[in-house]
């Protein structure tokens, strides 16, 4: 059996195993797995609105997932997409609400760029601390998540609170720069095109640029990369900068496409799901949008399971966890013949 066939077979086995386990959890909840399957698919893919919601959900997952892929390629474990997304969104809204009078066609790109820059700074900080002080990027990114959450909470109750001072939220960003709905009667907005463009850009960078090559070199062996003349520390930091930029962009797009302003919980735990998305997409920028779409289906479908059948929503997290486990198990079997990197 060739390696490719073998790999596909294992992926198939692991996928069906995951589905079986999910069915088992539905059974434990005392519900019919087949009915659950039909609700899950029907609610997400069965209607135009469901489909649009899936796409809406997959936009931030794609963007953040692409970011995760850049970091993981260099073996930098960025668990901080949530924090990077929040900081990016805060800075973008800050700029948009304090720079009035700019023409929309200038303000929109500035908004997105500032969002990306904010995320890049927050991610880059963790990368730099790892390289300079050997501070575990996992712990640092998670701590930075909690810190970002507190900054958001403070901003929308303090300096950035709406002029009316009623709710803990910021002023709305100017209407003119909001991303337009592209399917009438749904929430699907033109951020979809940003996500697709980002995926293509990420693919080109990873596949054809020197940076992409250096990422892979550092990821497969730091010392070998260094011997080969790669500045490994710089690449590790940069991987986190780029990773954070994508997450920050996701935050800016969420603001412009959905919320229109800052408020508590606008991020909605994208970060962890994005890790599952990136791993399911095997860190390939062209596969990540598909993985994000699948997780969009799961997310929207699980909402349907909760509403229609009373199956608890945290089933989503179980599925995410199982996907990561499945990824690990299949990675083990497909890599078994190769010498593992140390």
């Amino acid at each position: 059996m060739s390696d490719g066939v073998r790999g596909n077979l294992i992926v198939l086995l692991v996928t069906s195993g995951t589905l079986l386990v999910i069915g088992l959890f539905v059974l434990i909840a005392g519900k019919d797995p087949f009915q659950a399957a039909s609700v899950l698919v029907g609610r997400s893919l069965g209607s135009l609105n469901g489909l649009a919601e899936v796409a809406v959900r997959s936009i931030p997952l794609t963007l953040a997932g692409l970011g995760i892929a850049f970091a993981f390629k260099a073996r930098m474990f960025n668990v901080g997409a949530d924090g990077q997304l929040i900081i990016g969104a805060i800075l973008a809204v800050l700029v948009a609400t304090t720079l009035p009078g700019l023409t929309p066609w200038l303000l929109l790109p500035i908004f997105l760029l500032v969002g990306a820059a904010g995320g890049a700074a927050w991610g880059g900080l963790a990368g730099w601390l790892r390289v300079k002080y050997n501070a575990s990027e996992i712990i640092v990114t998670i701590m930075l998540n909690y810190i970002a959450l507190q900054i958001l909470s403070w901003a929308i109750r303090g300096p950035m609170q709406e002029s009316m001072k009623v709710f803990p939220r910021s002023d709305a960003v100017p209407d003119e720069i909001l991303l337009q709905v592209i399917a009438d009667g749904t929430r699907l907005h033109s951020g979809l095109f940003i996500a697709i463009a980002a995926a293509i850009l990420a693919f080109v960078v990873m596949r054809y640029s020197m940076f992409g090559y250096q990422l892979m070199a550092v990821g497969s062996s730091r010392s070998a990369a260094r011997v080969g003349g790669v500045n490994d520390g710089r690449i590790m930091t940069l991987s986190m900068v780029v990773s954070g930029a994508f997450a920050g962009l996701a935050g800016a797009v969420e603001i412009l496409g959905i919320h229109g302003r800052l408020q508590d919980d606008f991020a909605g735990g994208v970060g962890i799901t994005a890790i599952a998305v990136a791993l399911l997409g095997r860190l390939n920028p062209l596969a990540i949008p598909l993985a994000a779409f699948l997780f969009g289906v799961i997310s929207v479908g699980a909402g349907g399971l909760q509403r229609d059948m009373g199956i608890p929503l945290p089933l989503i997290n179980i599925i995410e966890g199982l996907v990561i486990v499945a990824f690990l198990v299949s990675a083990h079997f497909t890599n078994a013949r190769r010498a593992p990197a140390t």
Binding site: F25, S136, I139, M143, L144, I147, G158, P314, V325, P340
Partner: protein, 308 residues
């Protein structure tokens, strides 16, 4: 800053530190054997939920404790299987545990305790009461009015330090974490020892969860661990992979937590978010300050391959 403030602060420090310390002690042992588990946050969550469930079902918090430990070991078993047997990336496996813990605890909580109305009364641990002794000025409230698990934590920290550094099994754990090839050549079963250490870490994280939901608080709230598991992982580094060091680091974070809550109420004009973020800021600062002053177990995070 008066007497009452400091008594409250120090007493609070013990209370808040205990779950972090329990988890950090288990993680210290796992890491000394060469296996990193960044997923103990997820294990603590499962432990916290199972402790509540077990307490309600059995009618005693000790029943809950047993549930939590079993759940913790089961979660750790998954991590051990993935990272020791399948030799996959330990970090990614840990991330899986974080998400699974979030999912399992939330899913089953909503199916069981969360679905009951009215909410069931949750049997929880009493505090130590040595009568007159517990009421001595200063010493009483600070040292002698805690849950038994607090004292258990302190005893375990010193016991583990002795065990790790002075006994044969402890030596084997260290050997496996520093130089698995040599340990293997000397006849030590590397993977078996690592399994034991990871499972121990899971049991301790389960205990930490039980402490959170049936001693410190009385009940389960989804995602209630809120980063303590990650702080515990950081405490292993701050404690330089020594059990007593890890406990001291946890005590510091307990104190920081106790302090930030008190400072919040004392300073209503300073945004409360500033205080809430302090422990997380400290964790990052400590990692920076400790740069180059720690040496992690040489084989930490590296799967053992017999063929080499």
């Amino acid at each position: 800053m008066d007497e009452v403030f400091f008594i409250g602060l120090l007493a609070g420090a013990f209370r808040f530190a205990a779950p972090i310390a329990l988890a950090a002690l288990g993680e210290t042992i796992a890491q000394r054997s060469g296996v990193m588990n960044v997923g103990i946050e997820g294990i603590i969550l499962v432990g916290a939920f199972l402790a509540v469930l077990g307490s309600v079902w059995t009618g005693t918090p000790y029943g809950g404790l047993v549930f939590a430990v079993i759940g913790g070991v089961a979660m750790a078993l998954l991590h051990a299987f993935l990272s020791i047997t399948l030799k996959v990336d330990q970090i990614v496996s840990g991330i899986a545990l974080i998400v699974l813990g979030l999912g399992f605890s939330g899913f089953f909580y909503r199916l069981t305790i969360g679905a009951q109305s009215p909410a069931p009364k949750i049997p929880s641990f009493d505090k130590l009461d040595l009568g007159a002794l517990s009421k001595i000025d200063f010493l009483g409230p600070i040292f002698l009015q805690h849950h038994l698990l607090v004292y258990f934590t302190i005893v375990v920290a010193f016991a583990l330090a002795w065990w790790l550094n002075r006994t044969g099994p402890g030596l084997r754990v260290r050997a496996v974490g520093e130089h698995p090839q040599a340990a293997n050549a000397a006849g030590v079963r590397v993977d078996r020892i690592r399994y034991g250490c990871v499972l121990f870490g899971g049991a301790m994280a389960g205990l930490a969860g039980a402490y959170l939901s049936t001693a410190q608080l009385s009940g389960f709230v989804e995602n209630m661990v809120s980063g303590r598991g990650f702080i515990a992982v950081a405490c292993v580094v701050f404690g330089r992979w020594h059990p007593v060091g890890a406990m001291m680091a946890a005590f510091f974070f307990g104190a920081a937590d106790a302090a930030q809550i008190r400072l919040q109420t004392l300073n209503p004009d300073i945004p409360f978010e500033l205080f809430v973020m302090m422990p997380y800021v400290f964790a990052v600062l400590f990692l920076i300050l400790l740069a180059g002053r720690t040496r992690m177990p040489a084989a930490l995070g590296i799967p053992f391959l017999r063929t080499r």
